[in-house]
C-alpha cells in the first residue's frame, strides 16, 4: 500500500464516519491507557463510532498526523472535524459538551460510567475493518 493510498483511506474514514476514532489497539483491546480512556468514554456515552488501529503500520500515524496537525494518539473526529486527543475528550465529557455534540445522554455519574465500561459489558462498537495490512 502506498502512502497516498493510506492517506486516502484515512480521509475516507473521517469523511464517511460521523464519529471516527483513531487509537492504539482496538476499542476491545486498547494498547495504551490514553486510547483506552477515550474509547471507554465513547462507550459510556453509548454512541456508535468507527475505530482504526494505527499500530499495524507506522505510516498510518504519520499520515494521520500530517493531515490533522495533531501529534499524539488517540484522535477523535466528529463530522469530519478533529475534536482532540484523550485530554480534550475527557474534559468535554466531564462538562457534558461531548454528550451534547454527539447527541448522547450524559451518564448521571460520568466517571463511574467510563470505569464500568469494559469490553465484556458492552456490545462492541461498530468497527472499520482494518484494510491497511
Amino acid at each position: 500500500m502506498t502512502n497516498e493510498e493510506i492517506k486516502d483511506f484515512i480521509d475516507n474514514a473521517i469523511g464517511e464516519n460521523r464519529v471516527m476514532l483513531f487509537l492504539k489497539g482496538t476499542p476491545q483491546q486498547p494498547a495504551c491507557g490514553f486510547s483506552a480512556r477515550t474509547a471507554g468514554t465513547l462507550n459510556a456515552l453509548d454512541v456508535k463510532y468507527a475505530a482504526l488501529d494505527v499500530l499495524p503500520d507506522p505510516r498510518i500515524r504519520e499520515e494521520l498526523t500530517s493531515l490533522s496537525g495533531w501529534p499524539t494518539i488517540p484522535q477523535l473526529f466528529v463530522d469530519g472535524e478533529l475534536i482532540g486527543g484523550a485530554d480534550i475528550v475527557a474534559e468535554m465529557y466531564e462538562t457534558g459538551e461531548l454528550a451534547e455534540k454527539l447527541g448522547a445522554e450524559q451518564p448521571a455519574e460520568p466517571e463511574a460510567a467510563v470505569a464500568q465500561t469494559t469490553p465484556e459489558r458492552k456490545a462492541p462498537p461498530m468497527q472499520l475493518e482494518n484494510r491497511l495490512d
Binding site: 500515524r61 495533531w70 501529534p71 499524539t72 482532540g84 486527543g85 485530554d87 480534550i88 474534559e91
Partner: protein, 80 residues
C-alpha cells in the same frame, strides 16, 4: 532524556508570561503531564490551546516525549 524541569522551561520560554507545572507521570522520563496557564489561551478553542503547547516541542512529541498530557487554562481574573 527530557526532564519535567526542561519541559517546564521550554514551555515558559516559548509562551512568554505563561506558567507551567510539569510532572513525569511514570518516572520514566517519557510520559509527562503539563498544566499550563497563559493569557495567550484566551479566546482560543481547546484544540488551539493544546496545539500551542504541542508546538513548543515539535517532533519531540511522539519521539523522546512519548506522551504529553495537557491541561490548559487562562489566569484567574483574565488577562492582565
Amino acid at each position: 532524556m527530557p526532564s519535567p524541569s526542561e519541559l517546564k522551561e521550554r514551555i515558559e520560554t516559548a509562551l512568554p508570561g505563561s506558567t507551567a507545572q510539569v510532572d513525569d507521570l511514570t518516572g520514566g522520563g517519557d510520559h509527562f503531564r503539563a498544566e499550563v496557564v497563559s493569557d495567550r489561551f484566551a479566546g482560543l478553542s481547546r484544540i488551539e490551546q493544546h496545539r500551542l503547547v504541542y508546538d513548543v516541542f515539535g517532533d519531540d512529541v511522539g519521539g523522546p516525549i512519548h506522551a504529553l498530557s495537557i491541561k490548559t487554562s487562562t489566569p484567574p481574573g483574565g488577562a492582565t
